[in-house]
Amino acid sequence: MECCNKRRMMKESPESNFMNRRGSSCFPDEVLERVIGMLKSRKDRSSVSLVCKEWYNAERWSRRNVFIGNCYSVSPEILTRRFPNIRSVTLKGKPRFSDFNLVPANWGADIHFWLVVFAEKYPFLEELRLKRMTVTDESLKFLARSFPNFKAISLQNCDGFSTDGLAAIAADCKNLTELDIQENVIDDKNDNWLTCFPESFTSLEVLNFSILHNDVNFDALEKLVTRCKSLKTLKLNKSITLEQLQRLLFRAPQLCELGTGSFSQELTTQQYTELEGAFSNCKNLNTLSGLWVVTPQYLPVLYPACANLTFLNFSYAPLDSDDIAKLLVHCANIRRLWVVDTIEDKGLEAVGTHCPLLEELRVFPADPFAEGDARGVTDSGFIAVSQGCRNLHYVLYFCRHMTNAAVATVVQNCPDFTHFRLCIMNPGQPDYRTSEPMDEAFGAVVKTCSKLQRLAISGLLTDLTFEYIGKYAKNLETLSVAFAGSSDWGMQCVLEGCPKLRKLEIRDCPFGNAALLSGLEKYESMRSLWMSDCKVTMNGCRLLAKEMPRLNVEVIKEDGSDDSQAERVYVYRSVAGPRRDAPPFVLTL
């Protein structure tokens, strides 16, 4: 075992010389490492590493993948020192609110200096999964050159690169199995990056380029799909037509996950039949997404493939209630459903009727900024789903108004929620029937759903909501708050009451220094805290930074703003000390 030999030569610490080892453990190190090596769960590995020095070492040597939830909580040097044998790295960068334009450009989270260290310490790196990081073309080119065994790259919500970077990956990563580009800000320069996969390249299993805007070289794509017999996941962009889709499906009937191109084109009867046949042929399809622009008359071609679907992502396909209802009749096995609110309550009733196994529902708004009599989904649709889908444990629901009673009914029907994200789109919107705050709604959620891990609240909310959360939400790990609360007391309740809290993100709430400082003891046990447009001042932040030296307390300053206010505060624990790459508008206190 190569890694064991390496270890014997490199081990220097006095506690683990030969005599001591024999004395304190009856397992040879290889066995211990083998056993611990089988642990997959991060939490288990963490616990194991705390037992004793031998176990700590066995764990760190046997670790193959590492997950870093905040790229600034640790440095690549510290990481590589502790874990010498990593094959797969997952890194998350910017605070989540950067998705909503609350973090300025050039804030940081650049992958490059990580890659430089990895090139030296992890030359056998195989997988890189990044979320909310800045990735340049130069970094992608460097990656493609530096890791001969590289297999899988997944970029979600990243920015800074273009299709040139993809071309480099395609050309140089000979063993690539996965190229997954999701929801990034990408400069789509040309259509030729697909041609960069060499003719001899056949190992691809996952290809997702659904976010690209421009046409791709279809010829190159078809050839690629034809020769990659192990392709399981193919997610196309909207430039791919139905006719092209049919040709691809003909080449790859083994697909398990499909993201279609646009679902609207004038088809002849023959083409329609061929397309229908192509879908019937895909016996392994469990995930369907895409559609983009839909001609509803063509949806029936999907019906033959629907029976085995477990995940239907129509969140980019604004269907109406009739179309979705007709489709869902065939989708009895659906576990996860993402839709646009154009399906309205009637569509949700169909969900409740036809999809009893549903576990996750996400309803996105077609028109978030619509004024006046905009339609969408309401409380009755929410109730309808909860009545039919008793296994529901994950919901993301965008609506224009809600009632306390409806939410109470929903959680009574589905008490097993682990993720409850309700977004009432008008800030500060009260219960539209009673005009009361929505406190009781979220009170019902936390009282009934004891397994709740993630909660996002909205609507008109007073401190009472936070009292409820602090009192009942004992398993809560992530809380997102916007336009809510009455005073510092609210935030204090949460900080004092939720023992498992890891991520707290707050915007536009009346929480000030007292609230911020009440969490002094708490923040080191959390991943991060975000507060923007609250009432926190620079002095409050300075005090926090002074009292807690192992926290990074960062304030994002805007030009021309009041010097004493801290508009955007990001607090996180770190073993790497203050950032060395902070731009001028990020003040580390």
Binding site: F97, E183, W292, Y316, F364, F369, E371, G428, E567
Partner: protein, 205 residues
């Protein structure tokens, strides 16, 4: 860093509808990388038309126990929390749909009155949910429990008990089925189901 769009481009600070609680002074909204988010102020229904007013002057008779955040429809940065890619994608599709609808008539629903000789009440149907004459006629026959029989260009609905007619934009009463479907939906103002004998007169013209 780009200055807040609010302040520099629109210069609306003086008349700003704000979402903060009363007493909050600096309610800066800056959107440094926001290319696609539009910031606009929409009027609350109770505000008079002379312009947007400060939220605290709101006249609503809500028995709001606190002066908590008024549900004013101001668009703020990053709210609702929908990612740019999704927003842009939906926006593009909405535009396409609007274009499509504008080519086909007025917006997403086109209700017309339907009367029937001898019936005490009129009905209303949405022409846009049908794609062809056969769909429309089936619906009408179901709605009024009548039958039209076969349409022929020469004879109209000759031989049937009832026939469908419509009033066009010029105010003339026409037999349903003569013109292409799209042209019909654009020009039909209302429908009337007449007795076969009345329609005979139309068909033989």
């Amino acid at each position: 860093m780009e200055p807040s769009i609010y302040q520099s481009e629109l210069n609306l600070e003086a008349t700003e509808l704000r979402l903060g609680l009363p007493g909050r002074t600096n309610n800066k909204r800056s959107s440094p990388e926001d290319r696609s988010m539009s910031i606009s102020i929409s009027k609350n229904s109770s505000v008079d038309s002379s312009g947007p007013s400060n939220a605290t002057d709101h006249d609503d008779d809500d028995d709001d126990h606190q002066n908590s955040v008024q549900p004013a429809k101001v668009q703020v940065v990053g709210w609702p929390p929908v990612r740019s890619f999704r927003r842009n994608s939906m926006q593009q599709q909405k535009q396409k749909k609007d274009e499509h609808n504008n080519n086909n008539g007025d917006g997403s629903a086109m209700y017309v009155k339907v009367s029937m000789a001898g019936a005490p009440y009129l009905r209303k149907i949405d022409l846009n949910i049908y794609n062809s004459y056969s769909q429309l006629l089936n619906a009408l026959q179901n709605l009024f429990k009548c039958s039209f029989g076969e349409y022929s260009e020469r004879e109209g609905y000759n031989g049937s008990e009832y026939a469908p007619t419509y009033e066009d934009k010029d105010g003339d009463w026409m037999l349903v089925g003569d013109v292409p479907w799209d042209m019909f939906t654009c020009s039909c103002k209302r429908l009337r189901i007449v007795k076969g004998s009345e329609a005979k007169g139309l068909a033989s013209l």
